[in-house]
Amino acid sequence: MAEDINLIPKEVTQKEETKGSINRTVNMAAIISLLVVAALLLALFGYQFFLSASSKRIENQTKEAEEQILAQSSKEISYRALVGKLEETSKFLSSQLNYSEAYGKLLKIFKDSGVVITDTEFKNDGNFSVSGDAKSSSNFGKLVDGLTDEQFKEDFDMVTLVSITKIEGEPYKFTVEFKVLKKGLFEATPSTQINK
């Protein structure tokens, strides 16, 4: 039996083989790319499915939690109202001047100095204005000393003489302004004091 004789030149055969190999490689690469893309798409769909399942689960749990909260709505309303009122109270108390304390100290100073109060205006921002009659300059001096005394340095500040007039036979008529520092009816702390 005679063997088949390959008459095609060796170079041509090699070229054909190389071409076939390249062709296979390209096809393989294309198919792999396609498979990668398909895998990626599958992964994305899978992830979306997982997200949908999570969303559904969260939705159910949320609904359950909401129902439990709604069942206690009266408790919640009462609690919110209580905290709201307490916050309002706290805010209100800290915004108020301690008038009685400031007024009491002021009365003592005026009484000790022998000066008579005729007009006053007190404002919640701490600005106090007092007009009065002083029989003598010494009485007025005692008043100024009283207002600027060391013991009241945490109570009064920025004492200003607005006016003082003297008509013969009449007492000195004066107006002083000052600032009351302590603010807050509920345990005034340094942070609640009015800035000087």
């Binding site: 062709n23 294309a30 790319s33 949320t62 009122k85 209100f92 108390l93 009685s100 007009d119 007190f122």
Partner: protein, 245 residues
Amino acid sequence: MKLSNPSLIRLYIVPVLVIVTIVLLIPLVLMPQLERIKEKNIEVKKGNERLEALRAKLEKLNFIDEGDVSLKLLEMEEVVPSGKELAPLVVGVRALAGKAGLKVDSMELKPGRVATSSATSSASKRLKSEEAKSNTEEETLSFLLSLSGRGLNRAEEFLSDIERAKRLLGIETIKLARQERGEYTFEMEIVAPFKELESSGDIIASPLPSLTTELERVYDFVTNFVNYTNVPVQKVDTGASDPFR
């Protein structure tokens, strides 16, 4: 040897088809899918956050003693009522003045927010512009009180009582003037806060406010105040010729 056209097509048909498929898949399937995943992810994240908030709230709610809260709320209703309730306030202020030995010369109430339908429609535009005003201003009843009495010490007592009174009363301004024979007049602008119930937004998931120790101290502080406004005031129907009879 030169390749013919059909053989060239046969050679590259697979990669070309793959490239075309991939190129089409990206804008038609991949991108929309990514967008959907992004949206779903945000939805899940938000849902999870809300669920966590609900669970935290539920846990907190379970710890609250409803009976205790209700009792405290009743006490606080006397301190900061939910409405303006003028009549008990007027009676209370008169009682305070009387206790200090001062005479009430006049009491002028400043009108608050309007309530009638006609007034509401005309005032609606104005109200919108006033929405920016602070809550304190909106939820505060204000009135001018004119008192008179002999000596200055009585006013000190009045001020001391008013600072420890429930409902809460605060003083905005005091004008004092000496009259004849040691008599003084005191004009005061007094404010009384009230607190309505608030409800807005996602109230179910909104976290519960904290009842801090500071607020508990405030509660203990104000419950020791004296109630001057707990006098029952008889109500009469609108149009009564003499409401005081």
